[in-house]
């Protein structure tokens, strides 16, 4: 469960920007949340707080028993490695590694043996129907296939939380529905907490709960039913 209290994030610089402005939010375990809003509204910044990728300027972010806002770099690294899976708009696969090796990178910080790493990566690829492309490089895969590999990489560590920043933003409509279907399937199967940033109302419609963030301010547009 996530609990965000008065989370404010200000980017200093020549033009200081308040990307999140006193955000209060609670996400229970197992919920599927969609976050919508205009570009520059603060969606990615919020996801960074949830993903332990960055800490707020003020306020608290709690994930279970961990105070992310006050955690040190080592603890944040550990949370990222063990508890959170993350999927990106641009897939973010390592271009020089095969699909299977890309999935294995998520297991590297967990000190899993090489053999177990390979086995678990293959299983994860099977769960996204990509086992037959295990040896392919990202450049040899279509966008949808790359995102499948990225989802396998996010889930291979068996995280409690899956974060996705516009996971279908770079896909055509047909592929979009496929990936969306896959995410929903994994959410149901693994009882994950899923937070998905999207521009696309069709994608948001599949969520239990819809939030909208604009100028750093959060609005609940559809509470969990």
């Amino acid at each position: 469960m996530y609990t965000l209290t008065n989370v404010t994030k200000t980017y200093s610089g020549r033009h200081p920007v308040t990307a999140l402005d006193h955000v209060n939010l609670t996400i229970p375990d197992g919920q599927l949340v969609a976050i919508e809003g205009p570009t520059g509204g603060g969606k990615s910044t919020l996801l960074q707080m949830l993903g332990a990728l960055d800490v707020p300027s003020s306020g608290d972010v709690e994930l279970g028993d961990v105070q992310l806002a006050r955690a040190g770099e080592r603890q944040l690294t550990k949370v990222r490695a063990e508890r959170i899976g993350i999927v990106f708009q641009n897939f973010n696969l390592i271009a020089t590694l095969s699909a299977q090796e890309n999935v294995e990178t998520a297991l590297v910080p967990l000190h899993v043996s090489a053999a177990e790493r390979r086995e678990r990566a293959m299983k994860a690829l099977e769960s996204v129907n990509m086992a037959d492309r295990a040896d392919h490089l990202p450049s040899e895969l279509s966008g949808g296939q790359q995102q499948r590999v990225a989802i396998a990489r996010a889930l291979v560590k068996k995280p409690r939380v899956l974060l996705a920043d516009e996971p279908t933003g770079n896909l055509d409509v047909g592929t979009r529905d496929e990936i969306l279907e896959l995410l929903l399937e994994r959410w149901r199967a693994d009882s994950l907490t899923v937070v998905m940033v999207t521009h696309d109302p069709r994608v948001a419609e599949g969520a239990q709960r819809r939030l909208r963030i604009e100028h750093g301010t959060l609005h609940e547009t559809m509470a969990a039913g």
Binding site: G51, L53, D54, T77, I94, L97, P109, A114, R117, K157
Partner: protein
């Protein structure tokens, strides 16, 4: 995973790998060649020095002539009384044996003093003499018109009109022979440079005996055979050995030291001491100590002797020492720069990759380690190719069989070049300061340059490349460590 990832990055981004590896390889090879050639050249230098001064000599002790002594140019033919013939010409035959004018003689107690200096393991003394033999006819005063060689210009620029006038019209031979008094049985100094071609060398039992060694060239020129008797300083000495030297020029005649002293009338006098230090690392301090013990002496170490080597050998030494070294440092700096530049720009290009890895749980040390390992691997490829390239270059240089010639100056034992040994000067005076000119001719020794490949050479090359890789890795890693994991979320790169 780390190695798999590193290998993939290196092979799939091969352009960057090749540029960095080639840069480092060239630097490594150059560094190796310079290192090898400089030890080859210094080996050649010590070969030249060994040829001239004898193996094992670390320090020499001499005494520079005082200005008044060197100014004294008189031949001093005192005892040569001539017989006048019918035309009034006088036949003169005269022999003078005296100390070489290059260095002053000093009391042989200096040898004992030297031997007692701390760190001296062996010291022997020598007395270098010069025997000048004059045969000729001198016309009667005022009859210069009868000169058999009137066309001969009077070349005696250094002689006074009066001398020229007196000598004009005469005909004479002037022969100069180098005679060195050596310690019989010594393993250091002039005797150690000799190899016996026939007969034997001087053993300790020869002390005080009228025995001599002659150089093979001198024996040939003067038709001297083994066991023959030759005249040195008016005395008859028996030739017990004919010798060659590792040096291209040697003294003509070698006598036991005390015999030489007796014949030259220089009892208790020497003009050279050859010193071997107990520890080759202490040569400088031993030389300083000898200088303190013998304040008026000139103490030279093999290093200062090496500096006295001239000719193509010294040009090579200078070339390697300055140009080669700076060139290799320059190329190394460029190679380091390239390695750092490519590693840092590689990290910048991989901002998203490293951000992504951090966002899925890779720690900073792991990312830094990844960058460092990749950089080291790239350097290792460069190092290995560089060592191979360097070895090939050294092999080629050695195969070329470059001959370097080295000459030394400033030490009288070197004698003179063979061709100038004495000679007939028709119809005129010896040119001014003649004897001195003969002595100043130097020894030239040819050495084929052989550049050794030592473990040190290879280690220097490998270490240079790996240090380059490490430095680049640390700088690149530091860049990577500063990347925020959130960089993974930036859609625009």
């Amino acid at each position: 995973m780390l190695m798999t990832y590193a290998r993939r990055e290196l092979s799939r981004r091969h352009k960057q790998t090749i540029v960095v590896a080639v840069g480092l390889a060239i630097a490594v090879a150059l560094l190796m060649v310079v290192n090898s050639v400089s030890s080859g050249v210094s080996k050649a230098q010590s070969q030249v020095l060994a040829a001239v001064y004898g193996v094992g000599t670390d320090i020499t002790v001499t005494q520079r002539p005082s200005t008044s002594a060197s100014a004294q140019q008189s031949f001093g033919f005192g005892q040569g009384s001539g017989n006048s013939d019918a035309q009034g010409n006088t036949s003169v035959s005269s022999t003078v044996l005296r100390a070489s004018r290059e260095n002053q003689t000093f009391a042989d107690s200096a040898l004992g003093t030297t031997q007692h200096v701390n760190g001296v393991s062996n010291a022997v003394s020598a007395l270098v003499l010069e025997q000048t033999t004059f045969h000729g006819q001198i016309g009667a005063e005022g009859t210069s018109g009868a000169s058999p060689a009137p066309s001969s210009p009077a070349t005696g620029s250094g002689t006074s009109d009066k001398e020229r006038h007196r000598f004009g019209g005469g005909q004479f031979n002037l022969n100069s022979t180098t005679v060195t008094g050596v310690t019989p049985g010594s393993t250091l100094g002039p005797l150690s440079t000799l190899t016996v071609t026939s007969g034997r060398t001087l053993a300790s039992g020869d002390s005080g005996q009228d025995v001599a060694l002659v150089s093979s060239t001198y024996a040939k020129t003067n038709n001297i055979a083994l066991n023959q008797t030759i005249s040195v300083g008016g005395a008859n000495v028996k030739v017990v050995g004919i010798v060659d030297s590792t040096s291209s020029t040697v003294s003509d005649v070698f006598l036991p030291l005390d015999t030489a002293q007796k014949l030259a009338g220089l009892t208790g006098q020497i003009n050279e001491i050859y010193v071997q230090a107990a520890n080759s690392g202490q040569v400088d301090s031993v030389a300083t100590a000898i200088g303190k013990a013998l304040p008026s002496a000139t103490v030279s170490t093999d290093k200062t002797l090496a500096e006295s080597v001239t000719g193509s050998l010294s040009s090579a030494a200078t070339l390697v020492g300055s140009l080669g070294r700076w060139l290799s440092y320059g190329v190394l700096a460029v190679a380091f720069g390239l390695a750092i530049l490519f590693t840092v720009s590689g990290v910048n290009q991989r901002t998203r990759d490293f951000g992504t890895l951090k966002s899925i749980g890779w720690s900073n040390p792991r990312v830094v380690g990844q960058v460092a390992v990749e950089s080291l691997l790239r350097a290792a490829v460069g190092a290995i190719s560089g060592v191979v390239l360097g070895l090939i270059a050294i092999l080629v240089l050695n195969k070329l069989g470059i001959t370097l010639s080295g000459s030394t100056g400033g030490f009288s034992v070197r004698g003179r070049s063979r061709g100038e040994s004495g000679g007939t000067v028709p119809g005129g005076a010896p040119s001014g300061g003649g004897g001195g000119a003969l002595e100043r001719a130097s020894t030239a020794v040819n050495v084929v340059l052989h550049n050794p490949v030592s473990a040190e050479t290879i280690i220097i090359g490998l270490a240079a490349a790996l240090i380059g890789g490490l430095v680049a890795g640390i700088i690149g890693g530091w860049r990577a460590a500063r990347l925020r994991p959130a960089a993974a979320l930036r859609s625009v790169e």
